[in-house]
Amino acid sequence: MPLISRTFIKAGMIFFALSLITSLLIEVNISALPGLIPLFWHMLMVGWITQIIFGVSIWMFPGRNRDEGFKAQLWGWLTFIFLNTGLILRVISEPMSGVAATGIWKILLVLSAILQVLAVSTYIIEMWPRIMSKKQQREKRKRQRNRKKKEERGSK
C-alpha cells in the first residue's frame, strides 16, 4: 500500500474516533459548544468515509504512479493537505464562531469551505484520467514503455 493511502486511512481512523467522541458529547449533553451535530456528521462522512474512499481508490484504481514522494503523488498529497486542513479548520471555527463574535472564526470557516472544494478538485484531477478500460490501460502502459525506451536511448 503506498504511503499516501496509508496516510489517508490513518487520518480517516482518527476522524472516525473523533466523530464518535463528538456524538458522545452530544448524547450526554455536557458540551457548552454549539453546532456539534453538523460537525459529527462531517467528521464521519468526510473525515472517515470520504477519506478512506480517497485513500483506497488512489491505491486500487488503475494507472497508479508507483513512485513515492510529494512530487510524484502531487495531486494526492494536495488532496490530503486541503481536505484535512479544511476539516480541522471547520472543527475548530464552527463552534467558536457560535460562541465568540470575532471575525477571525468566520474567516476560518470560509477558508475551510474553500479548502474542502480544492481537495475535491485535486482528487478529481488525479482520478479522472485513471477511470479507464483494460484496453486503455494496456495502451497507456505501452506508451510509458516506449517513452522509457526513447529516454534510455537518448541518454546513451
Partner: protein, 137 residues
C-alpha cells in the same frame, strides 16, 4: 474497468464536486449570511453526497471488483446493468428537482422508486457473483 463502472464512477465524481460546492455555499452562509433560501440546499446536499457520491461509487466499484462469472457475460446481462445506472441517476435527479421546485407531482416518491429499482437491479446482478472459486479443503 467495465464501461458501467466507468459511467458510475465518473457520475459519482461529478456529484461529489456538486455536493461539496453546495456544502461550501452553506458553510460560507453560516459565517456571512448570503440569502435566506440557502438552507433549502441542505436536502439536495445530503441527497447528492449520499446517493450521488458514496452509493454510486460503491455500486460502480462493486460491479467492477466483485468476482465474475466463469462464463460470458462475466458480469451478467448488460441491459439490467444499464438500467441500474439510469434508474439511480433518474432517482437522484427527481429527488433533487422535488427539493428545488414547488410541484403537485410526487417527484420525490418517483425518485425513491427509481432508486429502489436500481438497488434491486444491483442485488439481482450481484447476488450470484458473491462466491468463492477456491475449492474447500
Amino acid at each position: 474497468m467495465p464501461i458501467i463502472s466507468r459511467w458510475m464512477i465518473r457520475c459519482s465524481f461529478v456529484y461529489l464536486l456538486m455536493g461539496t460546492l453546495l456544502g461550501a455555499v452553506m458553510l460560507v452562509h453560516k459565517a456571512y449570511p448570503l440569502h435566506p433560501a440557502v438552507w433549502q440546499l441542505l436536502p439536495i446536499h445530503i441527497e447528492i453526497t449520499i446517493f450521488g457520491w458514496i452509493i454510486q461509487l460503491t455500486l460502480g466499484t462493486g460491479y467492477w471488483m466483485l468476482p465474475r462469472f466463469l462464463e460470458s457475460p462475466q458480469r451478467g446481462k448488460k441491459i439490467p446493468a444499464i438500467l441500474m445506472v439510469l434508474f439511480l441517476n433518474l432517482g437522484i435527479m427527481f429527488v433533487v428537482i422535488n427539493s428545488l421546485v414547488q410541484t403537485t407531482l410526487q417527484l420525490s416518491v418517483a425518485g425513491r422508486l427509481f432508486e429502489l429499482a436500481s438497488v434491486i437491479l444491483f442485488i439481482s446482478l450481484h447476488w450470484n457473483r458473491i462466491v468463492t472459486y477456491r475449492s474447500r479443503e
